[in-house]
C-alpha cells in the first residue's frame, strides 16, 4: 500500500500530478510484441492479447539489372619482373583492369588468376609501358655483412679461417639466402696453392688440404663476422634493442652446444620403441628413488633427533638412588615435552638445515634449538647431581660448564629456535630482495654504465682518483721521477679522458714505467759502484807503481779501459734514441774509462773524484 493509495482512500488530491502511477501504466504498455506487417492500429485492436494470426508478407525480388554498368574492361598488359636477373628482357602479359578510367570503381584487384602469357623477348617498343610485377617485392635478399681489407685485418683475423675462405663462406651465404643446410652441402672450399712455390719444390709443394667444416663451424664463423661487423658499424650502446638482441645472440653462438643439441635430437629420434619405454621407466624409477631418499633422510633425521641424549661419560651413580631416578624421570619428561614442542616447530627450525643434515656428524650442528635443548638437559642433570651430593672433579667441571650453558640456554628451546628462524627469514628476505631488483639486460648495463666488482668501497668516487692514488703512493722524489719519465714519453700530465679503458691502459703503462725507473736507478747505482771499484783499482795500481811493478798492471788496466770504452761505444750506438738523461750518463761512462786509463798510465790520483778518496780511506781501514 503506497502513500498514493492512502491519499486515494482519504480522498486527498494528489499534490503532484506526475506520480508513479502513470509511469507504471506506461511500463505495462511497453513490452508489446511488435509484429511485422501489421499496422499499429490493427495491432491495438487486440488489446492486451496479442494477435495470433500474422499475415504473410510477400517479399518481391529486387529488380535485377537496375544499376547496370557497362562491363568492366580488362586489358592485357605487359609487365616485367625486376626480381629476374635478365634485366627486364622477358616481358610477360596479364589481364588487369585499367584502374585510371574508373575513378569510382573498385581498386584493381590483385588476384592470383593473372594469366601470364608467354610473349617472348621481341617486344621492345613496349618498354616504357611495362610495369613491374607485384610479386617482385617478395624477392628479398639477405643482407650479408660487408667488410673491406682493412676491417678484416683489424677485427676479423682468425686462426682457423683465412680471408679467402671467409669470403667464400659469405658468398655462399648470399647465394643460398642463409639456408645453412644448402650452404653446408655445397661448401667446397679449395684453398689456392701458394704461389711461387712450384718453381723449385713442385714435388714437395703441399697443397693445404681443405679443412672439413661442419655446419656449426660455418655458422659460428658467419655469426662471428656478422656480430663483429655490426659492432664496428655501430657501437653497442648506440644499438636499438632489436639490433642489440641480434648482436648478442650472434655473439653468444656456441657451436659445441648446437652440435650437442642436434646429436641429442638425433638420438631421440633414432631410438626404438623399446628404448623409449625403457627410458621412461628409468625416469620413473629415478623419481621414485629420489622420493624415497627424501623420506629416508627425513626418517633418519628424526632418528638422530631421538638419539640425541645427554652425555653418559659422567658417572651414573647419581641416578641410582630413588631421588636421582625421580629427577631423571622428570628430566626425561621435560625433554620429551620440549621435544614435542620442537617437533611441532620442527619444520621452521630445520629449514635452515642443509640437505646434508642427515650425515651423522652434522646432526650435532643442526641448529641452535638442538644445542639449547641438550644444554638444558645437561644443566638439569647437573643440578640433580648436586642434590645427591656426589661431586667428582669431572662432574664439577661439567656442572660449571653446564651452569654457564644454562645461563645462555635460559630461554626455553622454543624461544631459542626463534632467533634461528629469524635469521633464516632475514637470509630469505635478502635472497628475495635480490630478484626483486630489476635485472638489467647487458645492453642496459652498457648504457647506464653498470659494472660488477667483487670488492668495492662503497660511496662516490671519481675515475681519476685511481691515478691520483698511483701518484700519492709514491714518495716525493719517486713522484718527480715518474712525472719526468712520463713527460719523456710525451704522456700529458693529466689524462684527457680518464674513461675505464684509458685508466686501465694507463695503469699498465704506469707499472712498466715504474719498472723502468727502478731499473734506471739500479743502473745508476751500479755505475757508482763501478766508479768506486775503478778508483780503488787506480789506487792499488798507484801503490803498485810505487813498488815499481806498476808497468805491467798499468798496461792491463789500460787494455781494460779500452775494452770498456769500446763497449760503451756500442752501447751508445744502440741507445741513440734515448733521451738526454741517458746521454749524460753515457758521457759520464765515456769519461770514466778515460780517467781510469789516465789514472793507470799517469799513476796520479789527481783526476780521480771524491769517491776515490773515500775508497782510499776504506782501504786504509
Amino acid at each position: 500500500m503506497t502513500s498514493h493509495d492512502v491519499r486515494d482512500v482519504l480522498n486527498l488530491t494528489p499534490d503532484h500530478a506526475g506520480g508513479p502511477r502513470p509511469s507504471k501504466k506506461q511500463r505495462t504498455a511497453a513490452p508489446r510484441p511488435n509484429l511485422k506487417g501489421l499496422a499499429r492500429e490493427v495491432q491495438n485492436l487486440g488489446g492486451d492479447n496479442p494477435i495470433a494470426i500474422v499475415p504473410q508478407v510477400s517479399v518481391f525480388k529486387k529488380r535485377r539489372l537496375a544499376s547496370r554498368k557497362p562491363a568492366a574492361r580488362w586489358e592485357l598488359q605487359p609487365f616485367t619482373n625486376s626480381a629476374r636477373a635478365d634485366d627486364g628482357n622477358l616481358i610477360l602479359r596479364h589481364w588487369r583492369k585499367p584502374a585510371v578510367e574508373h575513378g569510382t570503381g573498385p581498386e584493381p584487384i590483385q588476384d592470383g588468376e593473372t594469366r601470364p602469357v608467354e610473349e617472348g623477348v621481341d617486344k621492345d617498343g613496349e618498354g616504357p609501358k611495362t610495369k613491374d610485377s607485384e610479386f617482385a617485392k617478395f624477392n628479398v635478399r639477405v643482407s650479408v655483412p660487408q667488410y673491406n681489407e682493412d676491417q678484416y685485418r683489424t677485427n676479423l683475423q682468425s686462426v682457423e679461417w683465412t680471408k679467402e675462405e671467409t669470403d667464400y663462406l659469405l658468398e655462399l651465404a648470399t647465394d643460398f639466402d642463409l639456408r645453412w643446410a644448402i650452404i653446408w652441402d655445397r661448401y667446397d672450399f679449395v684453398p689456392k696453392p701458394p704461389q711461387g712455390e712450384d718453381a723449385d719444390g713442385a714435388g714437395t709443394a703441399v697443397v693445404p688440404a681443405p679443412k672439413p667444416r661442419t655446419m656449426e663451424d660455418l655458422k659460428a664463423r658467419y655469426y662471428e663476422v656478422a656480430a663483429k661487423m655490426m659492432a664496428v658499424q655501430k657501437p653497442v650502446p648506440y644499438m636499438t634493442r632489436p639490433e642489440f638482441e641480434l648482436h648478442e645472440m650472434m655473439q653468444n653462438f656456441n657451436p659445441e652446444q648446437e652440435r650437442k643439441r642436434k646429436e641429442f635430437a638425433l638420438n631421440t629420434m633414432a631410438r626404438s620403441k623399446d628404448e623409449a619405454r625403457e627410458e621412461e621407466s628409468l625416469l620413473l624409477e629415478i623419481k621414485r628413488i629420489l622420493a624415497r631418499t627424501e623420506r629416508f633422510n627425513e626418517e633418519r633425521r628424526e632418528l638422530y633427533n631421538r638419539l640425541d641424549y645427554p652425555a653418559t661419560d659422567s658417572d651414573i651413580n647419581s641416578f641410582k638412588s630413588s631421588a636421582g631416578l625421580q629427577a631423571l624421570l622428570q628430566n626425561l619428561m621435560s625433554t620429551d615435552k620440549s621435544k614435542k614442542r620442537k617437533s611441532i616447530l620442527g619444520p621452521a627450525g630445520s629449514d635452515g638445515v642443509s640437505p646434508g643434515g642427515a650425515v651423522p656428524n652434522s646432526a650435532a650442528s643442526e641448529g641452535p634449538g638442538g644445542h639449547a635443548r641438550r644444554e638444558s638437559i645437561a644443566a638439569t642433570a647437573s643440578s640433580s647431581r648436586r642434590d645427591s651430593d656426589v661431586r667428582g672433579g669431572a662432574a664439577a667441571a661439567t656442572a660449571t660448564s653446564a651452569t654457564t650453558a644454562r645461563a645462555s640456554a635460559e630461554p626455553t628451546p622454543t624461544s631459542a629456535t626463534a632467533p634461528g628462524a629469524i635469521g633464516n627469514k632475514k637470509k630469505g628476505g635478502a635472497a628475495a630482495a635480490q630478484p626483486e631488483r630489476r635485472k638489467l639486460s647487458s645492453q642496459e648495463e652498457q648504457i647506464y654504465g653498470v659494472s660488477y666488482h667483487d670488492r668495492l668501497g662503497s660511496g662516490p668516487t671519481f675515475r681519476y682518483e685511481r691515478i691520483n692514488k698511483l701518484y700519492s703512493h709514491k714518495s716525493g722524489q719517486q713522484q718527480l721521477r715518474m712525472t719526468n719519465a712520463l713527460a719523456e714519453l710525451d704522456v700529458p700530465p693529466r689524462l684527457v679522458m680518464p674513461t675505464a679503458n684509458v685508466t686501465s691502459q694507463f695503469e699498465v703503462l704506469w707499472s712498466s714505467v715504474t719498472a723502468l725507473v727502478d731499473m734506471r736507478k739500479l743502473n745508476d747505482k751500479l755505475e757508482g759502484e763501478i766508479k768506486l771499484e775503478e778508483a780503488k783499482k787506480a789506487e792499488r795500481e798507484k801503490a803498485k807503481g810505487v813498488l815499481g811493478e806498476g808497468s805491467k798492471g798499468g798496461g792491463g788496466g789500460g787494455d781494460e779501459g779500452k775494452k770498456e770504452g769500446g763497449k760503451e761505444i756500442t752501447e751508445e750506438a744502440a741507445g741513440e734514441t734515448e733521451k738526454e738523461k741517458e746521454k749524460d750518463r753515457e758521457k759520464a761512462g765515456n769519461a770514466r774509462p778515460e780517467s781510469s786509463g789516465k789514472g793507470a798510465q799517469k799513476r796520479s790520483a789527481s783526476v780521480l773524484s771524491a769517491t776515490s778518496d773515500k775508497s782510499t780511506k776504506r782501504q786504509k781501514k
Binding site: 650502446p237 634493442r241 630489476r438 654504465g449 668495492l456 662516490p460 693529466r494 689524462l495 674513461t499
Partner: protein, 271 residues
C-alpha cells in the same frame, strides 16, 4: 643528509661521465667589453662549470655544486643549485689564477656525502709547447681548461640505483617487477612520473641518451670529449708502452753490462 634509504646494492658500480673546467676571456672593447661595475684591475671574464657530457642533463644525480673561489673575491663560496637541463655555471671576473675547489652534492636519493674536485683556473694560455699555446689563443681568444671526469657510484643505495638505471631507454624487464617495488621510497614515485614523460628515448645532439652513461661517438665543436678522443688517447698510451718496453730492454742490457764489469773489477780487486 637524508637517512640511508634501503640497502646498498652490493658489488655494483655505476658511472656517469661529466665535464668540469673553466673558460676565460680577456676583456676587449670590441668582443668582450667590460661591464660596468667591474674593478679596473680585472683583466678577464671567466666561467667555471660542471656539466654533463654533450650537455646532457645531470641534475638527476647532482643536486648542487659549491664553488670555492679565492678568498679575496667577495662572497667566495658560491653554491649553485640544480636547474634541469642547465649546467652548473658561475661567471666571474678577475685578474689572477688560482685553484677552485668544486664540491659536488649529490641527489638526496643517493644519501651520499659530497665529494671534492680541484681545478686550476686558467686565464693565460698554458701548454707544454708554444704551439699548444697558440692553438689555445686562436680559439676565439678563449682560454679553455676543461677536464673530463667520471663519477663512480660504488654500491649505490637501492632507490638511487633505481634512478641511475632507468629513464634512458624503456626498461626491458622492468614492467612487472617495478610495480611490485613501488612502495619503497618517495623518490621512486617521482622517478616513475618522469618515466612516463620520456618513454621514448631522448638523445642529445651527439647521440647520447639522456640519463645514460654514454659518450658521444665523435667530436663536435665545443664537445672535445668522445669515443674518438678516447681511442686516440688509448693509442697514445699504447705507443708509450711500446717505447717504455724498448727503453726497458735497453736499460736491462746496460745493467747487465755494468754488472759484468763490476764483477770483473771486484774479481780483480780480490786477487
Amino acid at each position: 643528509m637524508a637517512p640511508p634509504a634501503g640497502k646498498r646494492v652490493k658489488g655494483v658500480q655505476i658511472f656517469r661521465p661529466f665535464v668540469y673546467g673553466t673558460t676565460a676571456q680577456l676583456f676587449d672593447d670590441k668582443t668582450n667589453p667590460k661591464p660596468p661595475g667591474v674593478p679596473d684591475d680585472h683583466t678577464h671574464s671567466w666561467t667555471v662549470f660542471v656539466k654533463g657530457i654533450d650537455d646532457v642533463d645531470i641534475t638527476y644525480w647532482l643536486r648542487r655544486v659549491q664553488f670555492k673561489l679565492h678568498e679575496s673575491i667577495p662572497n667566495h663560496v658560491r653554491m649553485i643549485e640544480a636547474t634541469k637541463n642547465q649546467p652548473f655555471l658561475l661567471r666571474e671576473t678577475g685578474w689572477g689564477e688560482f685553484e677552485i675547489t668544486i664540491k659536488l652534492y649529490y641527489a638526496p636519493e643517493s644519501s651520499e656525502k659530497p665529494q671534492t674536485l680541484y681545478h686550476h683556473l686558467r686565464l693565460h694560455p698554458y701548454g707544454r709547447t708554444d704551439e699548444e699555446k697558440e692553438t689555445m689563443r686562436l680559439n676565439g681568444g678563449e682560454v679553455i681548461s676543461w677536464a673530463y671526469e667520471e663519477q663512480l657510484f660504488n654500491e649505490p643505495y637501492e632507490p638511487f640505483y633505481e634512478i641511475l638505471t632507468s629513464g634512458a631507454v624503456p626498461a626491458s624487464s622492468a614492467g612487472p617487477s617495478k610495480n611490485s617495488t613501488k612502495p619503497t621510497a618517495g623518490g621512486k614515485s617521482k622517478e616513475k612520473g618522469k618515466d612516463k614523460d620520456d618513454q621514448k628515448p631522448v638523445r642529445s645532439e651527439g647521440g647520447v641518451l639522456e640519463r645514460s652513461a654514454m659518450i658521444p661517438l665523435t667530436n663536435r665543436p665545443g664537445q672535445p670529449f668522445s669515443r674518438e678522443t678516447e681511442t686516440v688517447e688509448v693509442k697514445k698510451l699504447q705507443e708509450a708502452l711500446v717505447k717504455v718496453e724498448e727503453l726497458m730492454t735497453k736499460t736491462k742490457a746496460e745493467v747487465a753490462g755494468r754488472e759484468k764489469r763490476l764483477k770483473e773489477l771486484k774479481a780483480e780487486a780480490g786477487k
